[in-house]
Symmetry: C2
Subunit: 365 residues, 2 copies
């Protein structure tokens, strides 16, 4: 009988730059070629960004192999799309010396990041997020994933990008509903991390909705700072990072239960109100906080109650399948004041009785 110890040294500490600007897409490819001269490039985007001319705007006259996700949206966020991407990279004879450039919203980023992380044991990815939700949230943090037939992000990895380039003028490609739904992740950031930012958001809501570029750049910067700070402290979601899940435990279940008719941000808005109701019930927060948050979400124009046709039982079943579930029930991220996350004993995800959650779902009507 023998025993041997194998040591795995810590992988190199790294980091990446986030650039935020207006009308920068047209000159980005030059920057990418300058920064990564030795890597072959492969673009992943979707049919919306291709047909709106943004893909051409990015790559210019250069002929770059690209995969265009069609149809755009959650419906394509599954393992089959990832298989198609990887096979098209193989057909282009791409090897480990490839940089995947993800141009698009959260869905494109999640799919492209996941494909990059599993292509020949991993190649670098660079994100160019084009939606409110991706610019505020998903492009930063290294989470990737695609859905199975049973739950969201059943397949996924942690795969940090080598860079994130945000052009706020890309938000003009969104329809009004998508633009507004994406703002919910910003509201989440204010609630978990920064009361002053909540005030700023309330005061600047009109400029945000009018897509004033100066305000949109500030919005992106504030989001990336908060998200970046949390991710730096806990890149692989051992604890603190769980606060980012605020509103998402109920939100993800509601999104799936609606058959993805609700947009992610819309479902999270309902989930945030759900979290506020739990906080009220647990006497962690007062009613005026709930009312202020509900007021802001209503002004943004996202739902704050469950659609009538949604079955509570299905929502409860989907919560059990949450990827963070331990013993078939997930923990919840909660807050006290606006800007103050609740972390008893240093734990950023706390137990909430399933019966209480069932009761809250009824109060979300």
């Amino acid at each position: 009988m023998f025993e041997l110890q194998i040591k795995i040294p810590a992988s190199m500490a790294g980091g990446y730059k986030v650039i935020i600007g207006t009308d920068i897409l047209g000159s980005l490819w030059q920057t990418i070629e300058r920064d990564y001269p030795k890597l072959n490039k492969f673009v992943v985007t979707d049919e919306n960004l291709s047909s709106s001319g943004w893909l051409a705007k990015l790559t210019g006259e250069v002929n770059i192999p690209a995969f265009i996700i069609a149809p755009a949206g959650e419906i394509s966020k599954n393992i089959n799309t990832v298989i198609s991407i990887i096979e098209s990279m193989e057909k282009a004879y791409l090897g480990r010396d490839t940089l995947v450039v993800a141009l698009g919203g959260g869905t494109v980023g999640d799919i492209a990041g996941f494909a990059a992380s599993i292509f020949k044991r991993g190649v670098p990815v660079l994100h160019i997020p084009t939606t409110t939700i991706a610019q505020a949230d998903s492009a930063i943090g290294g989470k990737t994933g695609v859905d199975s037939s049973l739950s969201k992000n059943a397949f996924g990895t942690f795969w940090h990008p080598v860079g994130v380039y945000i052009d706020v003028s890309a938000l003009a490609t969104l329809d009004e509903r998508q633009f507004r739904a994406g703002l919910v992740e910003s509201v989440k950031h204010t609630i978990i991390a920064d009361g002053e930012y909540f005030n700023w958001f309330e005061s600047n809501l009109n400029s945000i909705l009018e897509q004033n570029p100066v305000v949109l750049e500030q919005l992106a910067m504030r989001n990336c700072k908060i998200k970046g700070r949390v991710v730096e402290a806990d890149p692989y979601e051992k604890n603190q990072r769980r606060m980012l899940n605020y509103g998402h435990t109920i939100g993800h279940a509601v999104e799936a239960a609606s058959g993805f008719k609700l947009l992610h941000g819309e479902a999270v808005a309902i989930g945030i109100i759900g979290a506020c109701l739990i906080e009220l019930e647990l006497k962690l927060a007062k009613n005026d906080k709930l009312e202020r948050i509900r007021g802001l979400l209503k002004k943004i124009g996202v739902p704050v109650t469950l659609p009538g046709n949604l079955d509570d039982k299905i929502v409860m079943e989907l919560i059990k399948h949450d990827k963070k579930a331990v013993n078939k029930w997930p923990r919840f991220a909660l807050t006290t004041e606006i800007g103050q996350v609740y972390s008893p004993g240093g734990q950023y995800a706390v137990e909430v009785n399933p019966e209480l959650v069932g009761k809250i779902l009824k109060r979300l009507r």
Copy 2:
């Protein structure tokens, strides 16, 4: 315009234990439960190990959710098997608090390790390798992967196990051909790292082929030490680790070109002779080294020439698709003396002209 820097701290340095023994499988489950009391367990194995009673021997009377890969072997090493595993984990309501236990050969380990690495952004895996090849090579080192329709390991990750338990008595479940083919990875270790080990291997070949448990434990130990040392120095294959690829660049292509009729070790044996012929041609090594290696491989009973029906052009095309290819052509790991890897300027993978490789393929008949 804003710019922000996000730091990703090095992930925690870690390590894992390799235990080598004879007839230890029956008591292993107790050890696993003691070492990981808080994690749910999920076993991945194949129909051979299930029908031979080894799965039952491992888990005993306890009812553990398991996925049994069928048919066993390379034919199941694809993304569809991984999808089935992940969906069956979801159906068992497993979350991130799951330990995947991989019981089987290299194929089971590669599939189970890959599934663990992408299930809900990654859960730990523990390997119980049962074949010569897995005990010598694949269970150590954290490489996972499954094949696409175009090439081997097109999908994969680096995912280090939390532990490796080797029971050499499991080798009795192999048929003679598999047992012998698996020894080729041991021969590879001797050539790249340890001339004394090559001598030991030659002297003890009869005891190895008779499956003397004392000698088999020593064999496993020597392999794990060499593999472990290389992996510790370069866990994510930036340079030194490439030496482990000795014989594999031609080997992988030959394996695929044979439609996987050749076993991995058999194809690598041909690839090792190919590497020796390249070394001769480049005047890195002398003919007596080639003859000594060829003699040993012949005694093991693996092929040392290309099968007559194999098309050189297909082999060349498959080499271009090698996952380590840069600009559509991979670099080769080469050696000088037995036990001495060739690393000009500190590089462990070197350029070899495609024309030369084409010529070598003709000489491999």
